[in-house]
């Protein structure tokens, strides 16, 4: 792996609750290459949520080194971290996390607004992203007016609209019935085929099976 898009070296994340120190991640080494489809799999409490937060630049490691797309993350301040998230990460959440009382189109366009893209271009790109996910006729609908599968597709469109370096999906099928879940997995397959780097975090081995590579995490450590 000459040019890893994600590179973690001895990364630890320890929560300091004041009385006790809780290690959530311990000495994690991980490299993910451009265009790879990786599943991080582990039971609840294994540290995979912490892993997602670190990989997604929502949180910083307490020790170790994390380089995302050539940028060392641990040296950045909050604003630079936000800019890096905006540029390089597309999040897909289990509970979709769409903005309430906001149309599908506005939801998808919002990440571009935070990049300072003009309104005209935002709308055009958001429309294109929604149409690509088969939601061309649902753009004016608010999240409460969409089914779970549709909401998750809006979430994927929102993650993709900024053309991020990696797509970071946290239990994307967790709230969906099997048909909608399979649809979402199918979308991930297509994206992967188109060359996108995808990191999928799940507890479900069946879901993880769709990825090229599975990274097992247990008690905050990567299991061989």
């Amino acid at each position: 792996m000459s040019d890893p898009i994600i590179h973690l070296e001895n990364v630890s994340r320890i929560y300091d609750t004041g009385k006790v120190q809780v290690p959530a991640l311990v000495d994690v080494d991980l490299s993910i290459a451009r265009g790879e489809f990786v599943a991080i799999i582990g039971p609840s409490g294994s540290g995979k949520s912490t892993m997602m937060h670190i990989l997604g630049c929502l949180d910083r490691p307490t020790a170790g080194r994390y380089v995302l797309d050539g940028t060392p993350v641990d040296e950045l301040n909050d604003d630079a971290l936000a800019a890096l998230r905006s540029r390089s990460i597309g999040f897909v959440f289990q509970s979709y996390n769409l903005l309430p009382r906001t149309s599908a189109l506005e939801n998808v366009a919002t990440p571009l607004a935070y990049q300072g893209v003009s309104r005209r271009e935002r709308v055009a790109r958001a429309q294109a992203a929604l149409e690509r996910l088969g939601l061309g006729d649902r753009m004016r609908h608010e999240p409460t007016e969409l089914s779970g599968g549709q909401q998750q597709r809006v979430g994927i469109a929102r993650a993709l609209v900024t053309e991020p370096a990696i797509l970071l999906a946290d239990e994307p099928t967790g709230n969906l019935d099997s048909r909608a879940g399979n649809e979402v997995i199918g979308i991930f397959h297509e994206l992967h085929a188109a060359g996108r780097t995808i990191v999928l975090i799940t507890h479900d081995p069946d879901v993880a099976a769709v990825a090229d590579r599975q990274v097992h995490i247990r008690d905050g450590r990567i299991a061989a």
């Binding site: 909050d78 604003d79 996390n97 607004a113 935070y114 929102r158």
Partner: protein
């Protein structure tokens, strides 16, 4: 995020939860409206007083008879009949006095053609327009000759002329005062002014004519004195006192049987009290504005708490702290400024209604509006910035997992 986008975001947010936004805004509306109304009303009252001040005549001193004292019983103020036409004549020679106008008044029925009116008839001298600041509209005022010879000539106040159907061409016509014919020699400009007694509803005739035909005595109701300049008011007062004491035989230790009042001073005192009251009331109104601002802060804190999860989502998809801060700050500003604008409109409307009933000119002061807008902006910033910075500082991981 661009400022225009943040602005649009705040604007669209106001549309949701209209009742809450409206109630929060109401606090600002009431505060701004009361400040604007009270300041404007204060200004209206002050300008009313100022116009009366100017209407009174320049450097006016009023000499009125004192109260009679019979044994231990003191009569009503001005009940003495000690001031005479001769007293007035004597004052004209004093160095600091520019004009002296005695007022020998009585009430009479005035008839002109088929119209009639009962009004005050004042016997006076040619100094009257100078002393009481009247201008002539048609014809001329009473001459010294008409006073010397006790002629039956009359000058009409503007309202009186209108009531009697007399206009620009009526100089030279005849009016009947209690049945006696008088030649109209002039009609005065309206003075306007405020108060219950119009200064334009009166008939002026030579003082001698009034004494001979209507009053029958030399006692005048008052003597108006115009002082040469405002700096000489004290000197003129002393001159009047000395002259009248001497004429009435009152010694240095005696009680004078007349009173000298400077209405100019009286009214400027009233004016400064009005200003003080305005400031005081505006200060009290500002407290309600402060309460309105605290209302904004309260609702913004609740809003930040309620939308913690949304803030987490926004941060995950690329919002910087600054973006979140400005989003919430703009929401607070939107509430305070729109509340301020509505408050200004309501305040001015209230002022207009009150001015209508009080008979003031409606004083619209653009400075009040500008200050109110700036003030509500400041309120929005002061009370919005803390909740907004709370939102901006939220940890994205914590905010995302907040339900």
């Amino acid at each position: 995020m661009k400022l225009t986008d943040l602005f649009g975001l705040a604007l669209s947010r106001l549309g949701t939860g209209k009742l809450r936004t409206g109630l929060t805004m109401l606090g600002v509306i009431i505060g701004v409206a009361s400040v604007v109304a009270l300041v404007s009303i204060g200004e209206g009252a002050t300008s009313g007083i100022n116009s009366r001040l100017q209407g009174l005549g320049t450097n006016l001193l009023s000499v009125t008879p004192g109260a009679t004292t019979t044994g231990a019983t003191r009569g009503a103020f001005g009940s003495a009949t000690t001031l005479t036409i001769e007293d007035a004549t004597a004052l004209t020679t004093q160095p600091d006095i520019a004009g002296v106008a005695p007022e020998l008044s009585s009430s009479h029925l005035i008839v002109a053609g088929s119209l009639n009116e009962t009004t005050t008839v004042i016997g006076t001298t040619p100094a009257y327009p100078l002393v009481f600041a009247y201008d002539m509209w048609q014809g001329s005022f009473l001459t010294q000759a008409s006073v010397d010879h006790g002629l039956r000539v009359a000058v009409l106040g503007n309202t009186t002329a209108t009531n009697l159907g007399l206009g620009a061409s009526s100089v030279g016509s005849t009016v009947y005062i209690s049945g006696l014919p008088f030649d109209v020699v002039g009609i005065m400009q309206p003075k306007g002014g405020t108060g219950f007694v119009s200064p334009d509803d009166e008939v002026l005739i030579p003082v001698t004519t009034a004494r001979n035909l209507f009053v029958g005595t030399d006692s005048v109701r008052a003597i108006g004195v115009s002082v040469t300049s405002s700096r000489q008011m004290t000197a003129a007062t002393a001159e009047i006192t000395t002259a009248l004491d001497q004429r009435h035989g009152i010694g240095a230790s005696g009680t004078p049987d007349f009173t000298i009042t400077s209405q100019t001073q009286l009214l400027s005192t009233v004016g400064s009290i009005t200003t003080l009251l305005t400031v005081l009331l505006a200060g009290i109104a500002s407290i309600s504005l402060l309460v309105g601002g605290i209302g904004i802060m309260n609702i913004m804190l609740v809003s930040v708490r309620e939308r913690t999860h949304e803030i987490g989502i926004r941060k995950a998809i690329g919002a910087r702290g600054r973006d979140v801060l400005l989003q919430f700050l703009f929401e607070a500003l939107m509430i305070s400024v729109s509340g301020g604008l509505i408050g200004i409109v309501i305040g001015l409307a209230a002022t207009a209604v009150i001015a209508l009933f009080a008979g003031w000119a409606f004083a619209f002061n653009p400075i009040t509006v500008v200050v109110s807008v700036v003030f509500s902006l400041i309120i929005g910033v002061i009370f919005g910035v803390w909740p907004a910075s709370q939102a901006a500082r939220l940890d994205p991981v914590v905010a995302l997992s907040y339900e």
